[in-house]
């Protein structure tokens, strides 16, 4: 009897758990294609154990909704197609997320920890009068999350007692969801009145044929030791031979060698490729925060005392101007 009652209790518990957990993932895209981080955020969402819905907002973005509906683990895709979402301004998106929330009562709202996710999630959270949880790297339970603080030098586990958990997800900490084995239903998102206090003017994106920095399997980064922007050509050349993306330290960005969207670190991008090659980078705390979860780290630096060597699997104490061309030649040879 007792065991049966227990079992029922457990069953009910599981039932309640399932019924009460539901997650909304805010999809990031450019109206044509899904941004890869969304696939990582969907994986994080499925770890929460409830139903996963995705919100696609944009202008003429039906194609993206189609793409999202094929992602494994997604139950429902909500589409909001309007010119009001041009430029994906948080002032326009927030009322939409709030309207969606008031209709479906999600327990979790997730977005990738990108420039967009970081702009939007706290605005939504404050409107719901809850705290946001930034850049999580782990999920222990539906209310307990792991994130880094102090530039990745400490790992914090926190329990949120808020009614709705509004979270941004570090893409490199979760695998990408399978992009073509799902079959989600599509419906229209609830209507909302966007605020007209801001306006998108223009965009200036750096164009590159190389793989995207945050999702590349290999990354080669240059620092102050590169001396100037011209010398980065050596890294581009090597990167192209290796199919790698090219990153930079803050010093290289501040010195104007490369644009700032290439910056890896606490205040730039966080990467965790299979191979990270740091060239002429000393390895300041702020830089390590962005790359120390890489599988294999290689440091090329002529200063044997550089802190980068303390985290490098392979270190070469040598002049980068000699090593990089040599590497290019050697990689070429078969």
């Amino acid at each position: 009897m007792l065991s049966r009652a227990c079992l029922q209790g457990v069953r009910r518990g599981v039932h309640v758990f399932k019924r009460f957990n539901s997650t909304l993932v805010v999809v990031e895209h450019n109206n044509e294609k899904l941004t890869p981080i969304t696939l990582h955020a969907i994986t994080a969402a499925t770890k929460l154990g409830g139903e996963v819905s995705c919100l696609v907002a944009g202008s003429q973005c039906a194609k993206v909704a189609e793409e999202v509906s094929k992602v494994a683990g997604v139950k429902k895709v909500l589409l909001a197609d309007s010119d009001a979402f041009k430029g994906f301004l948080p002032e326009a998106l927030t009322p939409l997320v709030l309207a969606t929330q008031s209709q479906f009562k999600f327990t979790h709202i997730l977005a990738g920890a990108t420039a967009l996710g970081k702009s939007l999630a706290p605005r939504v959270a404050a409107k719901l009068d809850v705290s946001a949880i930034s850049d999580i790297i782990g999920i222990q339970s539906p209310d307990t999350f792991v994130r880094t603080i102090y530039a990745g030098n400490a790992i914090q586990t926190l329990k949120s007692n808020d009614s709705v958990k509004v979270i941004t997800v570090r893409g490199t900490a979760f695998d990408a969801a399978d992009a073509d084995s799902g079959s989600a239903a599509q419906e229209e998102a609830p209507a909302a009145t966007p605020s007209a206090t801001s306006e998108f003017v223009s965009q200036e994106l750096s164009k590159s044929d190389r793989p995207d920095l945050t999702s590349a399997k290999s990354v080669i980064s240059g620092g102050r030791g590169m001396k100037n922007g011209e010398n980065f050509k050596m890294l581009y050349d090597l990167a192209d031979k290796m199919g790698a993306a090219v990153g930079a330290s803050r010093a290289a960005v501040d010195a104007g060698f490369v644009p700032n969207d290439m910056q890896v670190g606490q205040t730039g991008k966080i990467v965790a490729p299979d191979l990270y090659i740091a060239v002429g980078i000393s390895g300041a705390i702020q830089h390590l925060a962005g790359m120390k979860d890489s599988k294999i780290i290689v440091a090329i630096n002529k200063d044997p005392e550089a802190p980068i060597f303390q985290v490098a699997d392979y270190g070469l104490v040598a002049d980068l101007f000699k090593v990089i061309p040599e590497m290019s030649a050697l990689v070429d040879k078969k």
Binding site: S119, P122, A125, I149, S198, N260
Partner: protein
């Protein structure tokens, strides 16, 4: 039109160059006897506000900090850089440890209304909590537009044209005033406070307040379960030649062959 009233948020944090230590009880990091400074992004926020004043865009710059009594030093620094006055919302040690961005945002929003501010500038993130939330939350609470990760701010008539640092490059938006701006690293290069200005800053007004003066409840909704050291990477090996390096990488399948 008279100039804009600008509120700048500044946080006292462990200095960016300090190697932090996790407490033995794993409930936080050691802060006692550790060098503290103004959050680097907030220095940039202050600098931008002062430049707005120097360009006669702003009429008054008010620096605000929420935290323990030592935050007075942070505010004096802000005033030495050029802020006109300061407000310290004093928290006791316990509150200071558990205060969340939402609480600070609520306080900032209230102060902005009281002070009739037109612009709030904060750093894009504090380098201790790495949350990157306060500016966005303050904008939400006030229903003001937000310009996050700003690398350039230009004032037109009733609005600001802001260039933002986004993932693929740069983006330009226009926000109507009043607005919240969060400063990115490349917005400007903060000035150093000179000795005469540090002396003058001692005479500038600094008001002390409590969170309760603004009706803000600081009860935390996040419970910190633990703070731990990140996994330590195993020591690697130094190689002699480029050939060795490429051979190792080829072995690991990291170089196309």
């Amino acid at each position: 039109m008279s100039g804009l009233r600008v509120i700048v948020g500044c946080k006292r944090v462990i200095d960016y160059a300090v190697k932090i230590r996790v407490k033995p009880d794993k409930m936080g990091v050691v802060t006692e006897g550790v060098k503290h400074s103004m959050n680097p992004f907030d220095e940039i926020a202050i600098e931008e506000a002062i430049r707005m004043k120097e360009k006669k865009i702003a009429s008054e710059v008010i620096a605000v900090s929420c935290g323990p009594p030592q935050c007075q030093e942070t505010l004096r620094t802000a005033m030495a850089m050029g802020a006109d006055k300061a407000i310290l919302v004093e928290l006791d040690a316990k509150q200071a440890e558990t205060v969340q961005p939402l609480h600070v945002a609520k306080i900032l929003a209230k102060i902005s209304q009281e002070e009739k501010a037109d612009v709030i500038i904060v750093g894009k993130q504090a380098i201790d909590g790495d949350c990157n939330q306060t500016g966005q939350m303050t904008a939400a609470l006030l229903d003001w537009p937000q310009a996050t990760f700003a690398s350039e701010v230009i004032k037109n008539n009733g609005d600001l044209t802001v260039t933002r640092e986004v993932d693929g490059g740069l983006e330009t938006i226009k926000v109507k005033l009043p607005a919240v701006i969060t400063a990115d690293l490349r917005l400007n290069e903060p000035r150093y406070a000179t000795l005469p200005n540090i002396m003058k800053a001692k005479k500038k007004p600094l008001a002390k307040k409590k969170a309760s003066d603004y009706g803000v409840d600081l009860t935390p909704t996040h419970q910190i379960l633990s703070v731990e050291d990140p996994p330590v990477r195993e020591a690697g090996q130094k190689l002699e030649t480029t050939e060795d390096l490429v051979a190792k990488l080829r072995e690991a399948g990291l170089v196309p062959s």
